[in-house]
């Protein structure tokens, strides 16, 4: 991990807007993208969703093209060997019964021709793994820069699935709160540039990352937080950081009872329970394969503005290990940030960002 690797935010499209500035404003003002959508659930039930209402056509393609266009405007010069890694759980669900990822690379090529396009589909940790993989490619010298795209769209398919698991909230998303009763699905597309060259825009340093499997259950989080603990330990080793270095944690926090409980146990075991922490699912909902990238973009904004954003939806401690959940917007020097994610298939992933000195 000798050469510096920079990460900068290029574009962000969600129900909260299509510029990073709009997202900063929404976070500052505590605005959520979540609304109740009548008849969106199975058998015409009402469910909360964070859905970008401007979209009328295919949701995945539209999100992808809008974010790519913004990214191209932000970063028109592609120089050196470039790869694009797309992180998504479902791709374009409307392509079923065929391959849901069949058209992704060609859409990327409309905006960034002659790039190598790779796709990672590893449930809700895809975004964090995609950035870790981008860094691996840069360390190996295979590419000079990698665009990482996190994307997933709202669909009947996923909504009905989460309903069948009784994993959806009936109102809003309240990560880590005592009254949380499920997650809320959201959609969005975020793009970051991971590069060995220092970009002109604000960028932070990637210090290391890892993943670890719970080896416990394909859809239920581990009761002990073992996988998340092991991933954070590995990420600390690789980045040369320790718990006391961390100024802020961007946690996963889906607002299901068991997930948030698992995270609290893991953070407690790692002596991270006093570090200011938020889950951004109260703003974005759970955007699955996009979540890691979206939340890393807003973590970079936090670092740029030295601002801790509140964990929207949290009122009262609702985990067996109390955490330092951010409740009010606060100015604080943010030098070192830990991002974590956990998901189906027993996956856990983490990475560390650091401000340039």
């Amino acid at each position: 991990m000798d050469k510096p690797i920079y990460i900068s935010a290029l574009s962000l499209v969600t129900p909260l807007g299509n510029t990073i500035e709009q997202h900063f404003d929404a976070f500052k003002n505590g605005i959520s993208g979540i609304k109740i959508h009548e008849k969106a659930g199975f058998q015409q039930t009402a469910i909360p969703l964070a859905k970008r209402e401007e979209i009328t056509g295919n949701r995945y393609d539209t999100l992808l093209r809008e974010a790519l266009e913004k990214a191209k405007n932000a970063h028109p010069e592609i120089s050196g060997k470039t790869a694009v890694i797309v992180s998504s759980t479902k791709g374009n669900i409307d392509l079923l019964p065929g391959d849901t990822f069949a058209e992704t690379a060609s859409i990327v090529h409309e905006f960034f021709p002659a790039t190598d396009v790779l796709i990672i589909s590893n449930a809700c940790i895809s975004g964090v793994i995609a950035i870790n993989t981008a860094a691996d490619y840069l360390f190996a010298g295979k590419y000079d820069q990698v665009l990482v795209i996190g994307i997933d769209a709202v669909s009947e398919f996923v909504s009905y699935g989460f309903q069948s698991l009784f994993a959806l909230s009936n109102e809003t998303c309240k990560p880590f709160d005592k009254s949380r009763n499920g997650t809320v699905l959201g959609e969005g597309c975020g793009i970051v540039l991971v590069s060995t060259q220092k970009p002109a825009d604000f960028a932070v340093l990637y210090k290391g990352g890892s993943s670890s499997n719970d080896a416990n259950h394909i859809s239920g989080p581990s009761r002990t937080g073992e996988g998340l603990v092991r991933s954070i330990e590995k990420t600390f080793r690789r980045s040369g950081k320790k718990a006391s270095d961390i100024d802020f944690i961007s946690a996963h926090g889906t607002a299901t009872v068991f997930n948030d409980e698992m995270e609290s146990i893991a953070f407690g075991r790692m002596n991270l329970d006093q570090v200011p922490l938020n889950s951004m699912k109260g703003y974005f909902g759970h955007t699955l394969g996009a979540a890691g990238v979206l939340e890393i973009i807003m973590s970079i904004v936090s670092m740029e503005k030295n601002t801790l954003f509140p964990n929207l939806g949290f009122k009262e401690t609702g985990t067996s290990v109390p955490l330092n959940i951010i409740q009010h917007m606060e100015q604080k020097a943010l030098n070192t940030v830990l991002k974590t994610a956990s998901g189906f298939g027993g996956g856990n992933a983490s990475l560390i960002l650091q401000k340039q000195s």
Binding site: L118, L165, G346
Partner: protein, 202 residues
């Protein structure tokens, strides 16, 4: 980098290091037959999707070939890929809510390709790193790059798989175990592309 061992599971049979071990050609339920011939006692097998079933059988056969001195619990990375993600189960899940009018939770949990690596980690208590890629076709150069990057990070060996179950009935799982050695990457890539061709034609 070198290949320690490889296996191949498809409806007509299960192969280990190039040799047919379970002949299932013409069987009504070839994966069930291969599992029964394998003799592993793991009732969860029956609940798995096709991707996990194939990878389960292929991985059991590779167990004797894992490096003995490696910390497999922490330092084994799983690198899997296919072109159709979880398409086969996706379509079954759609059928459960469109035709049967009841979205099935046990199908939904398999509508992610990386569940297959989760199943293997549960079975073998592997807590290491996992990654699932979607690619147009089996690409030995990519696998060798991903494995090299995993080994560079301190992982001891990589269990790699091209595991595909398409709606049209095409099913295959090509598993191979990679570890560090003096051998050049291109020779591993060449060997992998030869092996998959042989397996597909057998």
């Amino acid at each position: 980098m070198k290949i320690l061992a490889h296996s191949y599971v498809c409806p007509k049979g299960t192969f280990l290091n190039g040799k047919l071990v379970y002949d299932t050609a013409g069987e009504e339920n070839p994966l069930k037959s291969a599992y029964q011939q394998l003799g592993a006692e793991y009732p969860k097998f029956y609940k798995m999707d096709v991707l996990s079933k194939m990878a389960f059988i292929g991985t059991e056969l590779l167990l004797p070939f894992f490096p003995k001195d490696a910390d497999l619990e922490n330092d084994l990375q799983l690198i899997f890929a296919n072109s159709s993600a979880s398409q086969n189960t996706d379509n079954l899940f759609v059928e459960s809510y469109e035709q049967l009018k009841n979205p099935s939770p046990s199908l939904f949990v398999y509508t992610l390709p990386n569940i297959v690596t989760g199943e293997l980690c549960i079975r073998h208590k592997w807590y290491g790193e996992n990654c699932f890629f979607i690619e147009e076709a089996f690409n030995p150069v990519h696998f060798s790059e991903w494995a090299q990057m995993a080994l560079n990070k301190g992982n001891n060996c990589c269990l790699c798989a091209w595991v595909e179950a398409k709606t049209n009935g095409e099913q295959e799982c090509f598993l191979f175990l990679l570890t560090d050695s003096e051998e050049e990457a291109y020779s591993v890539e060449l060997e992998l592309s030869t092996l998959i061709k042989q397996y597909r034609n057998e």
